[in-house]
């Protein structure tokens, strides 16, 4: 009995000494990060690689990677301008192919973009028009269909590096999703584009996304009072139910105390229901808190888009 007690005590001491050691290579003290009012509702940053398929429920996104590709490292948290790195994929250590490349998938929330373009086509044209001088355009912006969806595309190269980029952009839930494909072998990139036809990318039964809905349709609200001066921009998306109540809050980037205050306040806001063909439907919109970022002059007014 005594021996058993001593063994237990020893195990407990060992366990507590292990617990006392902080984990290495772990971000324990976080800066601004995303949070949500519930864990059920899919989020843009919630995508993950399952075996060799990237899945993202928020965007209705399912994309099979090329054979023997992987994602060695996850991307950063969403930015304070609501930019996301959905995935960054490279050939794995067992890859035997002749050509190597990289696939970067990003998403930009159009409600919080600081540059003028307001849809995928405009963004591709903007990127093409503002391409750095050390790149050369191989194929100017065009519209293509991939997996049954319209994409905007343009290709460019770095003559010095011998590298090629194919950029393909489409729009889902008022986000522009961009694929940046990079390799020195255009045939590899062509094959990746070809295989993208197998991709599933559909918002499905998601709320309508409407820019500026909160500013013009609020019936009652509780203003969040932020107590800390952090000078960060705080982009927030909300889903408003058919009854005009806020059913979901996604604080895209904020410090923890800021997120708590904003979420608690927003859940008390009431809106006019969004009507479509006379019927109330769920709507998703964006609200900017904190320090509004410096934005370039917009070329067009915000649009209500799917």
């Amino acid at each position: 009995m005594l021996r058993r007690q001593l063994v237990c005590l020893l195990l407990l001491l060992c366990a507590s000494s292990l617990l006392a050691q902080l984990p290495a290579n772990t971000i324990l003290v976080k800066g601004a990060e995303p949070s949500a009012s519930d864990t059920r509702t899919p989020l843009p940053e919630g995508g993950k690689l399952v075996k060799d398929v990237y899945e993202n429920r928020y965007f209705g996104f399912s994309y099979r990677l090329p054979s023997d590709w992987t994602e060695p490292f996850s991307g950063p948290p969403p930015s304070e301008n609501a930019g996301y790195v959905l995935g960054n994929f490279v050939p794995s250590s067992t890859f035997k192919g002749a050509s190597r490349g990289t696939i970067l998938i990003t998403a930009q929330d159009l409600f919080f973009s600081i540059i003028p373009p307001r849809n995928a086509k405009e963004l591709i044209k903007y990127s093409s028009d503002h391409l750095q001088s050390y790149y050369t355009i191989e194929h100017p912006p065009s519209e293509v269909t991939i997996a049954g969806r319209p994409f905007a595309r343009f290709d460019y190269t770095s003559p010095v590096a011998g590298l090629h980029w194919y950029v393909l952009a489409t729009q889902v839930r008022c986000h522009v999703i961009q694929f940046f494909l990079n390799s020195r072998d255009p045939k590899l990139l062509d094959s990746i584009v070809h295989d993208m036809d197998q991709m599933k990318l559909a918002a499905g039964d998601s709320p309508r996304c409407v820019a500026g809905y909160a500013q013009q349709n609020v019936i009652s609200k509780v203003d969040p009072v932020l107590t800390e001066r952090k000078f960060n921009a705080i982009p927030v998306r909300i889903i408003i139910g058919r009854d005009g109540k806020v059913k979901h809050v996604h604080v895209i980037s904020a410090f923890a105390s800021q997120a708590a205050i904003i979420t608690e306040a927003l859940l008390q806001w009431r809106f006019k229901p969004y009507l479509e063909n006379g019927e109330a439907v769920e709507v998703e919109t964006g609200i900017q808190f904190g320090n509004a970022p410096s934005r370039m002059q917009t070329a067009s007014t915000p649009q209500a888009t799917q």
């Binding site: 971000i27 990289t102 940046f180």
Partner: protein
């Protein structure tokens, strides 16, 4: 490198180099004379008249060695301690010249016992390792790091106890060994100060426009700025861009690193928590003992008895020294030749490194000297803070910068630096690039492109270019 950093680095290497091999090598510290440490050209030309006198006086003070009472021969600087990391600005900011970064021989080893001091050299300070300051990530409760109590303040390595000029002061060093065993310690090395007058004189608007121009880049990079808590403007000095001005930068360092109270930081500095009667989770006397606070404060201040350059405080002159230093001069041919360097420069931009490491920014009109006025600063930094992920996270938040966010380190002068990254963990510039790969890093895409999509000779060209800076 400590064990906990070797393992993920090895994993990264195996993932990225299994097929590609590892043919390129860091050429090492660029030889020849120091390509930095001189004043701006307009300062050297004494424009405006007498500014060169100010620079030379400032440099002398930067090199002055501090003692407790200022009464030791050759160590007339007054106010060292009672806690300190080293005894002179120039001791740590030394490579490749005064004003630089950590030298090859660490002065902190000798500092430990200079003039009878009774310090134990911590295990992370070695003769040929980098100059370092140490910080505990969390305060402790019952000796165990408590995640509910973030610390992050500098834990000075040494005390003046036992020094011939310290009197009866007797205080203990922090418990580094126990905190190291619990992974509760992080390190910072000195940042180089060359060209900081140019950095100071870049307008916030310039930085914001640069950020906008890099929006929607092909690397998924999305940085932000740290801000001064008082007026909300962009801060830009320090590893996390936490300091607004050179005076603040200098004053804090003078007080924290050498223990010298000054006109910006007027009070003797206890260890984090020591002023709350807590050291290492154990109760202790509130604050520093009275017999360790023998000098009137502040120990450095404006000198009212003179009307010449000597009037200025050390603090003001430290800031002036950094302000008037010219940026490092890159080499056009070494290492590898001009073709390789130029090719590397182009590749550096092509694969996206220049998004964060912005090659140049322009200052605004300056009232100090023409060399700072509407001048091009080839600093290779956007002065934004970026997520660097788990490999580089130090878990210290400063202003708006979280535990894994760092200011893009300016790369001017990288060619003659010995130690890299915020804690000096590597001397190999390629290992520093590899450390950009991590969970949560904004730099994964560029780093992947470097290691995956370039040829060995192209990677070598980039390394040669970096070592030419």
């Amino acid at each position: 490198m400590t064990t906990r950093r070797v393992i993920p680095l090895a994993l990264s290497l195996s993932l990225l180099f299994a097929v590609q091999g590892f043919g390129q090598t860091d050429p090492g510290v660029r030889g020849g004379g120091a390509a930095a440490g001189a004043p701006l050209a307009s300062v050297a030309a004494n424009n405006p008249v007498t500014i060169l006198n100010f620079f030379n006086d400032a440099k002398d003070r930067f090199q002055e060695i501090d003692s407790v009472t200022g009464s030791l021969a050759g160590e007339e600087g007054k106010g060292l301690g009672p806690r300190f990391n080293s005894r002179s600005c120039a001791a740590c900011h030394a490579q490749p010249a005064v004003g630089g970064t950590a030298p090859s021989v660490n002065p902190q080893v000798a500092d430990a016992t200079a003039h009878g001091a009774q310090n134990t050299v911590p295990s992370f300070i070695t003769q040929n390792g980098p100059v370092r300051e140490a910080r505990f990530i969390f305060f402790t409760t019952n000796g165990v790091p408590d995640p509910n109590k973030p610390n992050g303040g500098v834990e000075d390595l040494y005390t003046i106890t036992g020094r011939v000029d310290a009197g009866p002061c007797s205080i203990a060093q922090p418990g580094f060994a126990s905190q190291l065993s619990q992974n509760n310690v992080i390190f910072r090395i000195p940042t180089p100060t060359f060209g900081l007058g140019l950095v100071e004189n870049i307008a916030d608007e310039t930085l914001l426009v640069n950020q906008q121009n890099n929006f929607n880049n092909n690397q998924g990079v999305t940085g932000t700025f740290n801000h001064n808590g008082n007026d909300g403007t962009i801060s830009r000095f320090g590893w996390k861009a936490q300091n607004k001005s050179l005076e603040l930068f200098a004053g804090e360092a003078y007080n924290v690193e050498q223990g010298v109270t000054n006109e910006i930081f007027q009070n003797e500095r206890p260890l984090p928590g020591e002023d709350m009667g807590i050291i290492g989770g154990q109760s202790a006397t509130n604050g520093l003992p009275a017999n360790c606070r023998g000098n009137a404060t502040p120990e450095d201040h404006t000198n009212f008895n003179t009307t010449a350059i000597g009037t200025l405080s050390d603090l003001a002159q430290f800031a002036m020294f950094m302000r008037l230093l010219a940026p490092p001069t890159p080499s056009t041919t070494v290492p590898g030749g001009s073709t390789s360097i130029n090719n590397g420069r182009s590749l550096f931009s092509a694969i996206g490194c220049a998004i964060c490491h912005t090659p140049s920014l322009t200052s605004v009109a300056s009232t100090f000297t023409p060399g700072l006025s509407n001048a091009t600063a080839n600093l290779f930094s956007d002065l934004e803070i970026h997520h660097m992920g788990t490999t580089l996270a130090d878990n210290v938040s400063q202003g708006g910068a979280g535990g894994d966010q760092f200011r893009t380190a300016p790369l001017w002068g990288a060619g003659q630096r010995i130690f890299f990254l915020h804690d000096g963990r590597t001397k190999d510039i390629q290992a520093a690039i590899l450390a950009h790969n991590a969970n949560g890093s904004e730099a994964n895409a560029s780093s992947f492109t470097f290691f995956q999509n370039l040829s060995t000779s192209q990677r070598q060209d980039i390394l040669n270019f970096l070592r030419s800076l």
